[in-house]
Subunit: 349 residues, 2 copies
């Protein structure tokens, strides 16, 4: 059973993977990178190489765990956490631990091994967002889970071990440090100012416009004022809403449109950059409706300065956010007449 | 002038490098890696390729900015911050900014392009620590600086752009988020328990012994209970002391001995891993003597999972800290009879 341990100073939680414990020699050479579409377990026709599907968006009449799907969700074959167990924390002197209970799911976003959310049609990205929502809400029903981390790694530099397009969802029995900090800061800001800090941010960004990348009816894409990374982009719902799980169907489609447009603009502007994105949302256990505001943070991985930053909490960004917003707006303006080709059916084994 | 900006939600500070503002095309290909000893600006005989030296430990009678040095400190030729300017913060709506005033120095640790602190004799590592202390204390005299970040990147994966052994010191007009958080948490723990949390940690680790790598008279090396990274190692002074700048001469030599031994053990145990290390110390402006405890954190960069972690504050570590401590103890026990060769004079242009 993996273990969750918390650091008594910083309060951060760490999963210690006690089961597949590595030895020093495991790090002597870089891990082999499997990127052969002929071996990819996420390509259609190889559904038997993943755990059984939990959810799928499929052709009418097609059977589970076979071809005919458009979006497919399975358990991670090598999960960081185990679904069985209890979550009572125990103290070890000054430390706290709990069993590594949690869910770890993979959202396979398309059948095409080589595509990317930014290159798929908006309606397909909408199907991916629907799958996110279905799984996010379903795991909310398990009272052991306090928080769900929904994220996507794109490109090897960003930590993607399989290149077939996919996202991940990790449901946790604890609230990660970053989420707890954001909640606390948002509550503090609300207490002093009587307004959600993200609502205040959206107001100020719309008034100045210099860091706005683009907006649609319900969402806005901005470069944050203190961006850590070149071309870091946040997507925020204009209407105050604490939890990602509260998205209505029209909001989900509006979000899909912005997500596709932003990723497409990044793709053309910086030549398919590696990136991570993370959904920032209120915990399952505390919907925090009045002071927190869910959003998505996209972090392109373009700079080598890495490692020092996460140890120090101190970042150096060589791109001015106002410039990045302009570059992305320009890139997007050239895309308006293009509809990306529906590449999802192009390949497969 | 670079700009320091703070994020209104997280409170983290970011340096926006407005002067050498990058364009999207700058990221199309990875930056060229200069690792030719024949071109290295830090090798002896090329002292004119760096800014003038600020401090050096030299052969008696040798002249500044020429050969004859053992350890040499210069300004960073491409500083993240500028030394000229004032540090009054100003508000931009909900945001705060200040001019990017600060010092950015490079400590060139040896003449040999190919060596490493873990392979140098202890007395030489002692000279490097002396240089750290001289510069750390000197910058404390500039009342504009609130904090100094002393760190080392080893290996390309860890962000070292030049492979010649060196450390860096960045003096800042603000306190970085991670330092502020640690101070706050340590103060809180002290308030509840009447003891420094790091002193409590040392007591518990010495009592259990399972995560202790080794110790000498004045320092202890441990694997933290909730280690973020495989083989993450902390070096802590056994005597409570808040600031790195307070190190006495015998303490500095004892620290150098532990640092050399730890890096040597890591080098042999995991085949010269890339790593970052960071000195965690009290701010210049608040020596915080009773509740904070300076220490060094070494973070080997062995896992690809990177980027998601710093966005989420949530880490997955595939090595059990108790196992890592054992592996490093074993590696160190094989080193006891070896004195590393004094490689520092082996090369040079």
């Amino acid at each position: 059973m993996p273990e969750l341990r918390t650091d008594p100073i910083s309060g951060r939680w760490v999963i210690i993977a006690t089961e597949r414990a590595a030895r020093p020699t495991d790090f002597s050479s870089p891990p082999a990178h499997v990127d052969d579409p002929q071996q990819c377990p996420f390509c259609p026709g190889r559904e038997d190489r993943t755990p059984p599907e939990i959810f799928a968006i499929r052709e009418p009449g097609s059977a589970p765990n076979g071809p005919g799907w458009h979006v497919r969700v399975v358990s991670n074959k090598y999960p960081a956490l185990r679904i069985e167990g209890t979550t009572a924390p125990s103290n070890v002197g000054i430390y706290t631990r709990t069993d590594g209970v949690g869910a770890h799911e993979v959202i396979i976003e398309a059948t095409d091994h080589h595509t990317h959310l930014g290159l798929l049609p908006v309606h397909h990205v909408g199907a991916v967002v629907s799958a996110y929502l279905q799984r996010y809400r379903d795991l909310d029903g398990d009272e052991r889970f306090q928080y769900a981390l929904l994220f996507r790694n794109h490109g090897r530099t960003a930590g993607a071990s399989l290149s077939h397009p996919h996202s991940q969802l990790i449901a946790l029995p604890v609230i990660p440090k970053r989420a707890a900090e954001e909640l606390q800061a948002a509550q503090y800001y609300f207490g002093r100012n009587g307004i959600c800090v993200f609502c205040a941010l959206i107001q100020q960004e719309r008034a100045s416009g210099e860091r706005v990348v683009f907006e649609n009816e319900r969402f806005i894409a901005v470069q944050p004022y203190a961006a850590r990374f070149p071309f870091e982009t946040w997507l925020l719902p204009k209407e105050h809403k604490a939890s990602f799980g509260e998205l209505t169907e029209p909001e989900a489609m509006s979000f899909a449109e912005m997500l596709q447009k932003t990723l497409h603009a990044l793709h053309t502007c910086i030549d398919n950059p590696p990136y991570n994105y993370i959904v920032h949302t209120a915990p399952y256990v505390d919907h925090a409706r009045h002071f927190y505001h869910w959003h998505l943070e996209i972090m392109p991985r373009l700079t080598q300065v890495a490692g020092f930053e996460w140890g120090s909490g101190f970042f150096i960004n060589p791109v001015v956010p106002e410039d990045a917003a302009r570059f992305l707006r320009d890139a997007a303006s050239k895309l308006t007449s293009e509809t990306p080709a529906p590449v999802e059916t192009r390949s497969g084994p």
